[in-house]
Amino acid sequence: MTLPAFEYHRPSTLSEGLKLLKNNAGKTRPLAGGTDLLNNMKVGLNPAEVLVDLTGIESLSSIECAVNQPVKVGAAATIWDLVQRAEVKENLTALYQAGCGVGAIQLQQMGTVGGNLCQDTRCWFYNQTKHWRRARPLCYKTGGDQCLAMKKSERCHAAFCSDVAPALIAYDATVKLSSADGEREISLADFYTRDGKTYNVLQAGEILSEITVPAGAWQTKSAYVKLRSRKSIDFPQAGVAIAVTEEGGKLTGGKLVLTALGSGPMDIKGAGNLFKGLSVDSLDVEKISSLARECAAAAANDVLPVANMTWRPAYRRRMVEILIEESLKKIFINK
C-alpha cells in the first residue's frame, strides 16, 4: 500500500506552522510521529493534500519535568522521551505504565504525546482498506449516514484507543490548543467529545500544542492497566487509569478514567467519593475486590463498548471490574 501524494512542509517555528495550517484549512493535517496518520492515509483514510510536519518545531518537543513542579510537555515530544524519565517512572506510575503500553518500543519512540492524544478513533469497519470498505455502505465516519457497528444509532461509535489520555486525565492534565488566531487552555477531559466521528474539540487550523500535568500529580499514587490480546503491538480493548491522593494514611480523593470502552475517555464522576476517606491500611485483597466492584458499578453507565474490535462488547464490559481491581492492587498491594 502506498501513501497518496501530498504536499509536505516542515516549519521550524510554531507561528509558521500555525500559519500553514490556517492557510490550508480543510485540506491539511498536522504530522508528528506519523504512526497513526500515515497508516490511515495508506488505506485511504484521513485524506490530506498538505501535511505540516511539526517535528521541526523545537519548542514542541521540549519536556519540563521536575518533581513537585507542573510537568509541561510539548505535543511533539515522543512518548518514549517522556515516560522513560526517571521522575516519571518513579512517581507518575500510571503515565509510565500507559506509555509503556503503547504499541511497541518502536512506536513509543516514533509516536508523540500529542499524537497519541489526538489519535483517530478506531473501528473494524473503518480501519480497513478502501477495497474492504467498498463491500459495505459508507458509515458516519466515512461520510455516510449510519453506524455499521451500532445499527440505528445516531452517532459514530468508533472507539477511542489512547493509552496515554486516561492516565493524563487521571492527573487532571490540561492541554493548550493553538491556532494562528490565538490559543486556549482546557482540561484534557474536556478535549474529547465522546462522538466517534468528531472525537475532539479541535477547530480547523488548530493543534494541541502543549500538555500540562499539574504539580498535584506528584502526590498521587496511580496505575494504568490495559486489556489487550497480545503483550505487544495491540491497542487497548479496554483500559483503566486510577490516581488517588492520600493524607495521613487516608485517601482524600481519586480519579478513575476508562479508555477504549467508548468513543472518548471516560472520567468516572462517582469514583472520587468511593475512594475518599478509605484507610490505606484497610485496603487488603478483599477490600480491593469490593471497592473494584463499587467502582465498576459507578462506571457502568459510561461503559459503552460496541462490537467493533477483536473481543466482544460483553467481555470488555465484564473486564472493567477486573482491570480496576488489578489497578488498585498495583497501587496498594504490589506497589
Binding site: 473494524w124 497480545r230 473481543w311 477486573i322
Partner: protein, 782 residues
C-alpha cells in the same frame, strides 16, 4: 537442544556414525544468513527491470454475484495506464492444484464467489496510477444469495457456488476410507463415545507478501520471477492458462520470505503479470498488499470433526468412525489433498484396527483455503487427541497411558498398510511427559494444568504426478562445487541443508558448496516445497548426484594411484586410501579433467519417493510417504479464572525427525511450528463477518499473530532415529510439530479448569463461559 535416545531400524548406534560426519549433524550457519541479516537478500519485490509496469487487481465487493458487465474505458484513458484486462480477455482454462478438481480462472469469468475475488487487472507506469485506474473500472454485478458456513452450504436449495453436475449441495469432493469392520468393532467395545470438535481458519501470514514480475521477450520467451513454493508447478499452470507450451515459460524463485503453504497455488498476480507482459511487451510487476496477502490468497480450512470411538476396558482403541467436513471457501485449491491428509493422520500415530472416515470438502462464499503447515492434520489431531483425554477420563486411566497403549511402533503391521520404517512416538510420549513433570503436575487442578498431544507427519507426499526431485553437481578444478537443484527454499533453509548433504557426501568443506536453485530453465525438475518433503526428496537427489560425481572422480584417481576405487574415499577435501591422505580434492578434479573423458564433469541424481500406482490416495491401503516424523508435545498452562486468560508456561516438544542434519535448524523449525499452533489455538482468527463472509482481521494490527513476548518457554527434545529412506537418516521437521500444539494446550487447559472446550480458538470469553456452566452445573447437582 536435548538429545534423546536412538531408535529405528538401523543397528549402528548413532554416535558411531556421527563421529564420521564432518558437516552433517552440525549447526553450520545457513548459506543465506548473512545476506538476510544485512538486508542484501533479493526478494521479488526488490527486483526492478527497465521499462517495468506496475499491476494491480480489482476485487469483488460481493460474496457471490454474477458479473453483468465491466466497463474499462475510463480506466484505459487514464494517462499512464498501459493495459486493463478482464475475464473476457483470457482463455477459459481452469487451473488448480489437483487436475480433477480445477475450478479457478486467472481472472473471474462471469461470476465472483467471495469478497476479494479477482475481477480485473491494470498495468500502469507506476503503482499510484494503477491504483487510481482501479477506481475507474465500472463493474455491474447482479448479487446472488451467498452462504458462509458449511452447514448452510450443504442445505438443499442452497445457492450453487460452482455449477456443474459434479457438485451437489456444494460438496465438491468426498471420500470414504474404510478398513476392518467398525460395526463389529463397536460391538466388541467396552465403551463408546462420540464428540464433535470444531476448528476455525488461520492465515499463513508470511512476512513477504505475494509478488511476481513477468517479462515477455519478442522471441516468445516468458520469464516470471515469483514468490512461489513450487516453480515447476507454477510453470505448468501458467503455460496451460496462457495457452503456451511449458518450454516457453521460465519461472525463477528469488529469495522468498516465508510460505507455510500459501505460495503453492498460482495466483492472479502471476497470471495477470504474465498476460499483461505478453500483451504490452513490457515487464509487469505485481505485489499484493497486506490485506490481499492475508484475505485474497489461501487460509487454513475451518473444520467440523465428529469422532465416535470404541475402546476396550484397558484403553485399546477398537473402532473409530470419523466424519470430517472442511470449509473450502470459494475454490477447491488442495481440496482432495486436505481431506486425504486429514484422513491419513487419523491412522497415525495410534493403532486403529477398524476405521471408517467420511470426509467432505464444501464450498462457501469466503476466501479459498489451501495447504497450510500440517495441511488437514491439525484439525484431525485436535479432535482425536482431545477425545483421547476424554476416553482416558471415562475409563479412569492416565492420559499418557492410553496413548502409550495405542502407540504405533516401527515395523508394525499397520492396519492400513502404511510402512513405518522408523518411529520414535512412544519415546516421544515419555520424554515429553517427563520433561513437563507429568506425574507431579497432572490432575492437580487449581487453574494450572498439563496436557499432551501427539502425531506424525509425512516426509513428503508421494503419488503425485511422478515428479520427484532432481539435482546436478558440478565441480571446478579450483575447488568450487555447484549444485543445481529444483528445490524451493522459502526461508526454511533448504539450500543450506542441500549444501550440507552435498558437502558431506562428496567429502568437501561446506563453504565450497554453492547452490543454484529453483530456476526452471537451469535446474532439474523438482516437485517443490510442500508436504514437508524437501530434505528427503531433493536432499536425497543431491546426495545421489554427489555420490555419482564422487564415483567418477575416484575411478580416475584409482587408475592414477593404483588400487580399487571402492577402497578410496573423499573426506575433508582429501582423497583417502586405507586411512591415508592421498591427494587434495582440487588435484583430483584436475586429474579428471586431464583424463579427457568425453563427458562433462557432472553428477546426476533423481529421487522420487516410493509410490504406489496409480494415484489412489485414500481409497486403497498403502503408504503416502517414504517416512514419517513423530512427536509429542506437552504443555503446561495457567488459567486466570477472573479474566479467562491463558498463560502458557512451557511447551515441550519431543520430536522424531530422523537424524537432525542441522540441529539448530531443526530446533528453529520446531519452535516456529509451535508458535503457529499456539497462535491458532489462542490468538489468531480471521474473524469472518457472517453477514458477507468478509474476514475482519486484515492487517497485523488486528490479526493477532503472537509476538515474541507471547512466546512461552520451549524445550525441544530430539529423538534421533536413523531412517533408511531420507538422506543420512533425516525425516521431515517443518510441519509435524505444529499439528499437535492445539490438543496439548487444550488438554492442559482442561486439566487446569476441569471443563473442556471443543471448538477453537480458545478465547477468554469461552473459558469464562465454560467455567460458569461448570459452576452452574455444580450448584444444581448440589
Amino acid at each position: 537442544m536435548q538429545r534423546g535416545k536412538v531408535t529405528g531400524v538401523t543397528d549402528k548406534p548413532s554416535e558411531e556414525i556421527m563421529e564420521g560426519y564432518s558437516v552433517i549433524g552440525k549447526s553450520v550457519p545457513r548459506t543465506d544468513a548473512w545476506d538476510k541479516v544485512i538486508g542484501r537478500a533479493v526478494y521479488t519485490e526488490d527486483i526492478k527491470l527497465p521499462n517495468m509496469l506496475y499491476g494491480k487487481i480489482l476485487r469483488s465487493p460481493h460474496a457471490h454475484a454474477r458479473i453483468v458487465s465491466i466497463n474499462t474505458e475510463k480506466a484505459e484513458k487514464l494517462p499512464g495506464v498501459k493495459m486493463v484486462m478482464t475475464g473476457k480477455d483470457i482463455l477459459p482454462v481452469k487451473y488448480g492444484i489437483v487436475p480433477f478438481a480445477q475450478d479457478e480462472y486467472g481472472l473471474a469469468i462471469d461470476k465472483v464467489r467471495y469478497v476479494g475475488d479477482d475481477v480485473a487487472a491494470v498495468a500502469a507506469v507506476d503503482e499510484a496510477t494503477a491504483a487510481e485506474a482501479l477506481e475507474l473500472i465500472e463493474v455491474v454485478y447482479e448479487p446472488l444469495p451467498a452462504v458462509f458456513t458449511v452447514e448452510d452450504a450443504m442445505k438443499d436449495g442452497a445457492p450453487e457456488i460452482h455449477e456443474g453436475p459434479k457438485v451437489k449441495n456444494n460438496v465438491s469432493i468426498q471420500y470414504r476410507k474404510e478398513f476392518g469392520s467398525i460395526d463389529k468393532g463397536f460391538e466388541e467395545s467396552f465403551h463408546i463415545r462420540e464428540d464433535v470438535f470444531k476448528t476455525h481458519g488461520q492465515y499463513h501470514a508470511p512476512l513477504e507478501p505475494h509478488a511476481a514480475i513477468a517479462m515477455y521477450e519478442p522471441s516468445g520467451k516468458l520469464t516470471l520471477w515469483s514468490s512461489t513454493q513450487i516453480p515447476f508447478f507454477l510453470r505448468h499452470n501458467l503455460a496451460s492458462t496462457l495457452g503456451i507450451t511449458e518450454d516457453r515459460v521460465r519461472v525463477i524463485k528469488p529469495v522468498v520470505g516465508g510460505g507455510f503453504g500459501v505460495k503453492i497455488d498460482m495466483f492472479s498476480k502471476d497470471f495477470c503479470a504474465a498476460f499483461m507482459s505478453m500483451k504490452t511487451g513490457r515487464p509487469v510487476k505485481m505485489v499484493y498488499d497486506r490485506e490481499e496477502a492475508l484475505t485474497c490468497v489461501r487460509g487454513r480450512h475451518p473444520s467440523i470433526v465428529k469422532v465416535r470411538t470404541g475402546v476396550a476396558k484397558d484403553g485399546r482403541i477398537i473402532s473409530q468412525y470419523i466424519d470430517l467436513t472442511v470449509d473450502g471457501g470459494a475454490y477447491n485449491s488442495t481440496a482432495p489433498l486436505i481431506i486425504t491428509l486429514s484422513g491419513y493422520f487419523a491412522m497415525i500415530p495410534y493403532n486403529i484396527p477398524n476405521l471408517v472416515l467420511d470426509a467432505k470438502h464444501v464450498y462457501t462464499n469466503k476466501y479459498a483455503n489451501g495447504a497450510m503447515r500440517g495441511h488437514g492434520a491439525p484439525q484431525m489431531r485436535f479432535a482425536v487427541e482431545s477425545q483421547m483425554d476424554i476416553l482416558a477420563a471415562d475409563l479412569g486411566m492416565d492420559a499418557l497411558e492410553i496413548r502409550r497403549i495405542n502407540a504405533l511402533e516401527a515395523g508394525c503391521d499397520h492396519p492400513a498398510k502404511m510402512i513405518l520404517r522408523s518411529c520414535g512416538f512412544k519415546e516421544s510420549l515419555d520424554l515429553a511427559a517427563n520433561a513437563i513433570g507429568w506425574k507431579e503436575k497432572r490432575g492437580k487442578g487449581n487453574f494450572r494444568g498439563v496436557g499432551l498431544g501427539g502425531s506424525g507427519w509425512a516426509s513428503g507426499v508421494n503419488n503425485m504426478s511422478h515428479i520427484g526431485g532432481g539435482a546436478v553437481v558440478k565441480l571446478e578444478k579450483t575447488g568450487g562445487v555447484t549444485v543445481l537443484t529444483g528445490a524451493a527454499d522459502i526461508g526454511q533453509g533448504a539450500e543450506s541443508v542441500i549444501a550440507q548433504i552435498v558437502a558431506e557426501e562428496l567429502g568437501v568443506s561446506f563453504a565450497k558448496v554453492r547452490v543454484i536453485a529453483a530456476d526452471t530453465d537451469v535446474c532439474p525438475l523438482d516437485s517443490g516445497t510442500f508436504g514437508s518433503g524437501v530434505t528427503v526428496r531433493s536432499g536425497k537427489a543431491a546426495q545421489l548426484a554427489a555420490r555419482d560425481i564422487k564415483k567418477q572422480i575416484l575411478t580416475v584417481v584409482a587408475k592414477n594411484i593404483g588400487g580399487d576405487p571402492e577402497h578410496l574415499t573423499i573426506k575433508d577435501d582429501y582423497i583417502w586410501q586405507n586411512g591415508q591422505k592421498k591427494m587434495d580434492i582440487n588435484k583430483a578434479v584436475k586429474l579428471v579433467q586431464y583424463a579427457d573423458i568425453q563427458v562433462p564433469m557432472i553428477g546426476r541424481g533423481y529421487y522420487q519417493l516410493p509410490a504406489k500406482e496409480p494415484t489412489t490416495l485414500l481409497r486403497d491401503n498403502g503408504d503416502i510417504s517414504g517416512s514419517y516424523s513423530f512427536g509429542t508435545q506437552a504443555a503446561e498452562v495457567e488459567v486466570d479464572p477472573k479474566s479467562g486468560r491463558v498463560k502458557i508456561i512451557k511447551i515441550v516438544t519431543a520430536d522424531d525427525a530422523g537424524r537432525a542434519l542441522n540441529p539448530d535448524q531443526v530446533e528453529g523449525q520446531v519452535e516456529g511450528a509451535v508458535m503457529t499452533g499456539l497462535g491458532h489455538t489462542l490468538f489468531e482468527d480471521p474473524d469472518f463477518d457472517m453477514t458477507n463472509g468478509q474476514a475482519r482481521s486484515t492487517s497485523f494490527t488486528d490479526y493477532k499473530l503472537p509476538t515474541a513476548l507471547d512466546a512461552p518457554d520451549q524445550e525441544v527434545i530430539h529423538i534421533e532415529t536413523d531412517d533408511p529412506v531420507g538422506p543420512f537418516g533425516a525425516k521431515e521437521c517443518g510441519e509435524g510439530a505444529t499439528i499437535y500444539t492445539a490438543p496439548a494446550i487444550v488438554n492442559a487447559i482442561t486439566d487446569a479448569i476441569g471443563v473442556r472446550i471443543n471448538d477453537l480458538p480458545i478465547t477468554p470469553e469461552k473459558i469464562l463461559r465454560a467455567l460458569e456452566e461448570k459452576n452452574n452445573k455444580g450448584r444444581k447437582e448440589a
